[in-house]
Symmetry: C2
Subunit: 204 residues, 2 copies
Amino acid sequence: MSPAHVLEPTYRRLKRALMEGLWPGGAKLEAMRLAEDFGVSMTPVRDSLNQLVGEGLVDLTPGEGFRVPPLTEQRLRDLLDVNSALLKTANTANWRLPTEDGPVFIGNEYADRLAAAFSLLANGSGNRVLADIVDRISERLHFLRSCEPEVLPEANGIQKQIEAGLHGSRTDRHLAVVRYHRQCQGCVPQLINCLARLRGGGAT
Amino acid sequence: MSPAHVLEPTYRRLKRALMEGLWPGGAKLEAMRLAEDFGVSMTPVRDSLNQLVGEGLVDLTPGEGFRVPPLTEQRLRDLLDVNSALLKTANTANWRLPTEDGPVFIGNEYADRLAAAFSLLANGSGNRVLADIVDRISERLHFLRSCEPEVLPEANGIQKQIEAGLHGSRTDRHLAVVRYHRQCQGCVPQLINCLARLRGGGAT
């Protein structure tokens, strides 16, 4: 097993690169090449890639190796529906805004703020399984979300409404979650087009 | 990377052993020892363990290595709530019983039949993301479910109701899902006790 002090940063660097859309959907991820780029041995890279396969952020096709999973319209609709269902479930009568240190805001501001708000909403349910799945979906959709301010008619207003909902009533939170997912579902082809454009016209 | 023809069976064998409760919660999983037991090299074992970390079926603690994740009462309640929410979401107006080859029935009959029925219910929504999460939860709870016929007052009747619901109305499916999860949530401490007993009194 890779030593913890090498595995952890390699895993995080690889995950962040995937979240930021460094490679287009379908791109092959060569462990040896990545190890050279990162200045580490093959082992932590392969260990990280395999963990990310389990998390759904990397595809592993038998005999073909690791690839970036393409984001299709159908997959995006599915991810949005699950995210919406879980956030509505999280918003119970017992919901409480978590008081410990919140998620860190780094990189692309809109996508990171949205992920942080959804994470707080999910964690407020006290259900860790639910919160982990919501975080996983945010990681999968991170790069796509950088398209939302351009594509959704009211992306920034909705983001503010979601953040305000964290300090508002149960109804406020519910309406913000519904409004966000309705706008996204209404713009799926445009979002996928924007993603392909941002990735230089390659596969989405 | 391990060759596909070694990785795939190693991964499946390891996953099935975890599902069948071969090791108690908290048990350390030594890649070298497992490789010897399975008669394969370290590489496919480590690749499989890392994938299973990403899937939540194995824990990886930095500096400590791989362990079997213990199932606590809280974690069980969380898994049940997410399962229930997703199965209710799956049961939409557009729900259709999938016609392709259904899930395979192997091993412990009750747990496998329940997993297969939930998988069909989830897949009937057409939402692959949702169906994958429901399958993942079934894998995580497989061994615990072998306690249900002993602990739940009406486990076998409810299981039949869930299977009948697949050919019944939307209301039939809804009532079966609600009844199952209500019974489980009402017996969480007894289920966790039974799990500890089955695993020979070790950690759950």
